[in-house]
């Protein structure tokens, strides 16, 4: 039982560090990529990775409401991606 918990914790921290690295690399891509839709894709990807980070944090600290924050972030990221795509393609928001 204690061994399983230890393995689980180690894998959680590996996932946490990996996702922090992934966010850093995708922010670098966001800075370097030239076409505007590539930047939009990377922005969407960064919001997905931050959501993954929140989900892992929810397992590391089960008493804190990280999953609720994640639900709000997913909703805002979805609306933001659609609004930005529509704005870039049609040059107007509505």
């Amino acid at each position: 039982m204690a061994t399983a918990k230890l393995i689980f914790d180690v894998i959680l921290y590996i996932g946490l560090l990996t996702h922090i690295g992934l966010i850093a690399v995708s922010l670098y891509f966001f800075w370097r990529r030239e076409p505007v839709f590539d930047r939009l894709i990377v922005a969407d990807l960064v919001s997905t990775y931050i959501l993954a980070l929140l989900v892992i944090l929810a397992m590391i600290r089960p008493d804190d409401p990280f999953l609720d924050v994640g639900l709000g972030l997913a909703a805002i990221g979805f609306i933001g991606a659609i609004a930005l795509a529509k704005y870039i393609a049609d040059q107007q928001m509505f």
């Binding site: 996932g15 839709f37 969407d44 999953l67 795509a85 529509k86 393609a89």
Partner: protein
């Protein structure tokens, strides 16, 4: 619950967390390697999203281990929400890119693949034009 069942829940959750992390890494590799915007969107949209979804399945099993019903329920809600929202956002981005005029990658010599959407759009435009001409004739 007996100890070995709880340990099994933890191990399953750990495997799902590992799988989700690996899928997230593959998504970023696809973003770096694939040739054009649509294929990159395919890699990040599917793989990045399923990374989070597998992590949420891990949260589901972790909630069973903790005997925390609200955690299981929240994980299930976020899971369903992401499965609806992720493809919708990817579709909105790709259709906006097509309307903006992003060219799809058609192989190294520019002849491979095919652009079905352009054919459909042309067909629809020709139908509309025919209808317009017919109406004009009727007026005369």
């Amino acid at each position: 619950m007996p100890d070995f069942v709880l340990a099994t829940f933890l191990i399953i959750a750990a495997l799902f967390v590992l799988a989700g992390t690996i899928l997230s890494v593959i998504g970023l590799l696809g973003l770096n390697w694939l040739p054009d915007m649509y294929t990159r969107l395919h890699a990040t949209g599917k793989v990045g999203l399923f990374g989070v979804v597998l992590l949420l399945v891990g949260v589901f099993f972790f909630g069973l281990y903790e005997a925390d019903a609200t955690m299981v329920l929240r994980a299930a809600i976020l899971f369903l929400f992401l499965l609806v929202v992720g493809p919708t956002a990817a579709h909105a981005i790709s259709s906006a890119a097509y309307r903006f005029g992003q060219e799809p990658y058609l192989g190294p010599d520019g002849k491979g693949g095919r652009d079905d959407l352009a054919r459909d759009v042309r067909q629809k435009a020709e139908e509309l034009l025919d209808e317009h001409r017919r109406k004009k004739k009727k007026k005369k």
